[in-house]
C-alpha cells in the first residue's frame, strides 16, 4: 500500500506489466509497481511463484524484462517509466 500521509506524488502515468495496464507515480521503481499489483512477481526455476526479497539489488530475484528491447534488469533498482512494457520471468 502506498503511504498517503505526508507524501506528495506527481501525476501518475501508465505502463504495462504482462499486458496489464498499471498506474505508477514518477520516481517509483518497477518493484514498487509490481508489489502494489501482487506479491507474485514471476516464477522460480522449479515453477513455484517468485516474490521480491531484498529490495536492494543484492538477491537478484526480481529480474524482469523490459520489452521490446529485451533488457533484463533488477526491478528494485530500475525506475518505472511511462509507457514501459515489462515482462515477468
Amino acid at each position: 500500500m502506498r503511504i498517503e500521509s505526508k507524501v506528495e506524488r506527481q501525476a501518475p502515468f501508465s505502463l504495462q506489466v504482462e499486458g496489464e495496464t498499471l498506474r505508477a507515480y514518477p520516481g517509483e521503481t518497477i518493484a514498487t509497481v509490481l508489489v502494489e499489483r501482487s506479491p507474485v512477481i514471476g516464477h522460480m526455476a522449479n515453477g513455484d511463484a517468485q516474490g521480491l526479497f531484498c529490495n536492494m539489488g543484492t538477491c537478484c530475484l526480481c529480474m524482469v524484462t523490459i520489452l521490446p528491447e529485451g533488457r533484463r534488469v533488477r526491478a528494485c533498482l530500475t525506475a518505472a517509466e511511462p509507457g514501459m512494457e515489462i515482462g515477468l520471468g
Binding site: 507524501v7 514498487t32 507474485v40 521480491l52 526479497f53 529490495n55 536492494m56
Partner: protein
C-alpha cells in the same frame, strides 16, 4: 564521468560519504559509485526526487547522518555515479584498478589509482519452510520500501528473527499506517537482558544507541502490537502467497513477513580482488581485513564500514574518515603526524562504536535460533536447490565442490543468499566459501560484448 580517477569510492553510504568529505580540498579526482540513484546508503535511502516527503527520517537518531549527507551532496568537484553496479574489480598492468560498471544504459569501465570499498551489508537470508512464498521479505527490504518508495508491501506484517532492528522497522511500518501482527524474537527476553547486564558500561555509554529500540518497543506496546520473546518461527504458510506464520506459540495470520536474523557484509568485491577476509561474526559472512588506516591486504585497496564487519552507521562514518585520512597519507597529501592528529578523536569514537556493535552482535546472535529446515526447504533460491538435494553432498566437500555438484550458489546472486546457510550446513570453519566470480551483479552478455 572521466576515464581515470585518483580514487573510486564504491558506496555512497555513511562510510563512503565520510571518506569523500575527509578528502575534500586535496584536489583529487574522486568518483563515488552506488547502485542507488542518490547517496545515503540503506540507512538513509532517499525517496525519489519526484516525491515530496514531509519530515523524512526526522528522528534524532538519524540527525548526524542527515547532516553528513547534506554536506556530501553539497561537495563540488566529485563525480557522483549513481544507478551503477560494480561488476568487477581488477588490477591493470600500471598498478591502477579497473572497475567494470553496469547501469541502465550498458557497461562502462573506469580506472582509479586507489579504490575504497564502502559497500555496506545485506540482510542474512534465512531459509525455513515456506520462506520462498511471495510476501516474505528481508526485513531490510521492507524498511527500504517504507523509507524510500513510501509504500508498505503488506497490510498485516509479521517481523521475526533475532535482531533488535526489527523493533525499529515495526515502528516505522505502524507509523506509515500499516499494521504489524506481531514482532517475534526467537531469543528470550531474559537472555537479552542478561547480556546487557554483563556489559553495563558499554550499554550505559551507548544508551543513545539503545534508546531508539526501547522507545520503539514502548510505542508498539501502546499501539497494541504484540512484541514476543522466545518465539521461534517453524514455517511460513500460504498457497501462492503468504497467509500466515507458524511459530512455537501457534499460528499468526499475516500477508507479509520480514525476516530479521542479522546482517552480513557485502563481500563480493574485496574477495574478487583477493583481499584478506575474516569470518564476519555470528550471523555469518565475510569481512574485509584492514589495518589501522583501513588498508586491505591489496595495495591501494581500502575498505570501510560494514564491508569490514557489520557495526552500524556511526562506526561506518568513523571508519570512512579514517580511510580518507589514510588515503591522503598514502598519497603523500598528509604527513604521518598530521594524519594521526586528524583522526585521534575519530579513533576513540570508532572504538566505542565497535564495542557497542560487539554487544549488539551478542544480543542479536542468530546462532542456535535458526529455524529448522525441511528436506523440501529451498536453500538456493536462484537455482531452486532444496536441502534434500544438498544432503548427499555434505560429506566433507568444500563449498565450491558442493556448488559444482548441486548448482547451489550458481545463480545470478552469486551465492550471496545461500552461502551462509551452506557453510553452516558444512560446519567447516576453515572453508572460505565460494570463489568470488565476475560479474558481482547480473549483466547482459550483449552489454559486456559491446561496452559503450
Amino acid at each position: 564521468m572521466a576515464e581515470r580517477y585518483d580514487l573510486a569510492i564504491v558506496g555512497g553510504g555513511p562510510a563512503g560519504q565520510a571518506a569523500a568529505l575527509a578528502l575534500q580540498g586535496h584536489g583529487l579526482a574522486v568518483a563515488v559509485i552506488d547502485e542507488q540513484p542518490h547517496p545515503g546508503g540503506q540507512i538513509l535511502r532517499q525517496p525519489p526526487r519526484e516525491f515530496g516527503v514531509t519530515g523524512w527520517m526526522g528522528g534524532k537518531v538519524y540527525a548526524a547522518l542527515r547532516r553528513q549527507l547534506g554536506q556530501f551532496e553539497a561537495l563540488s568537484g566529485l563525480d557522483w555515479l549513481g544507478g551503477r553496479s560494480v561488476l568487477g574489480l581488477s588490477r591493470s598492468s600500471d598498478a591502477s584498478f579497473v572497475l567494470t560498471l553496469s547501469g541502465r544504459s550498458g557497461v562502462e569501465t573506469l580506472r582509479a589509482r586507489r579504490v575504497l570499498l564502502a559497500t555496506g551489508c545485506q540482510d542474512l537470508a534465512v531459509p525455513l519452510p515456506g520462506w520462498t512464498l511471495p510476501g516474505v521479505y528481508a526485513a531490510g527490504g521492507i524498511q527500504a520500501f517504507v523509507k524510500s518508495q513510501q509504500i508498505v508491501p503488506g497490510k498485516r506484517i509479521v517481523l521475526a528473527g533475532t535482531h533488535p532492528l526489527q523493533l525499529l522497522i515495526a515502528d516505522q511500518i505502524v507509523a506509515a499506517g500499516a499494521s504489524v501482527s506481531a514482532v517475534m524474537f526467537a531469543q528470550s527476553r531474559q537472555a537479552m537482558a542478561r547480556l546487557l547486564a554483563e556489559s553495563p558500561l558499554v550499554a550505559a555509554r551507548q544508551a543513545s544507541a539503545l534508546l531508539p529500540a526501547g522507545a520503539a518497543m514502548a510505542r508498539l506496546r501502546r499501539r497494541g502490537v504484540p512484541v514476543r520473546f522466545g518465539e521461534s518461527l517453524l514455517g511460513i504458510v500460504g498457497g501462492e502467497r503468504v497467509e500466515g506464520v507458524r511459530s512455537s506459540a501457534g499460528e499468526t495470520a499475516c500477508d507479509a513477513v520480514g525476516l530479521c536474523y542479522g546482517f552480513v557484509p557485502q563481500s563480493a568485491l574485496p574477495r574478487m580482488a583477493g583481499a584478506g577476509m575474516r569470518a564476519a561474526g555470528p550471523a555469518g559472512g565475510w569481512a574485509a581485513e584492514c589495518d589501522a588506516w583501513q588498508r586491505t591486504s591489496v595495495a591501494g585497496l581500502y575498505a570501510a564500514g560494514e564491508t569490514t564487519g557489520v557495526a552500524g552507521a556511526a562506526a561506518a562514518q568513523c571508519a570512512g574518515r579514517i580511510a580518507g585520512a589514510g588515503i591522503a597519507l598514502d598519497l603523500g597529501l598528509l604527513a604521518p603526524g598530521a594524519a594521526e592528529r586528524r583522526v585521534a578523536g575519530v579513533r576513540r569514537a570508532h572504538a566505542k562504536h565497535l564495542k557497542f556493535a560487539a554487544l549488539l552482535d551478542r544480543i542479536a546472535d542468530p546462532t542456535g535460533h535458526f529455524p529448522v529446515m525441511a528436506p523440501s526447504t529451498i536453500v538456493c533460491r536462484c537455482e531452486a536447490v532444496r536441502l534434500a538435494d544438498l544432503v548427499s553432498c555434505l560429506d566433507g566437500r568444500s563449498a565450491n565442490a558442493v556448488k559444482l555438484a548441486s548448482r547451489c550458489g550458481m545463480g545470478p546472486c552469486q551465492g550471496r543468499n545461500c552461502e551462509p546457510t551452506l557453510l553452516r550446513l558444512l560446519g567447516d570453519r576453515a572453508d572460505p566459501g565460494f570463489s568470488a566470480r565476475f560479474p558481482a551483479r547480473p549483466v547482459m552478455l550483449g552489454d559486456l560484448a559491446a561496452p559503450e
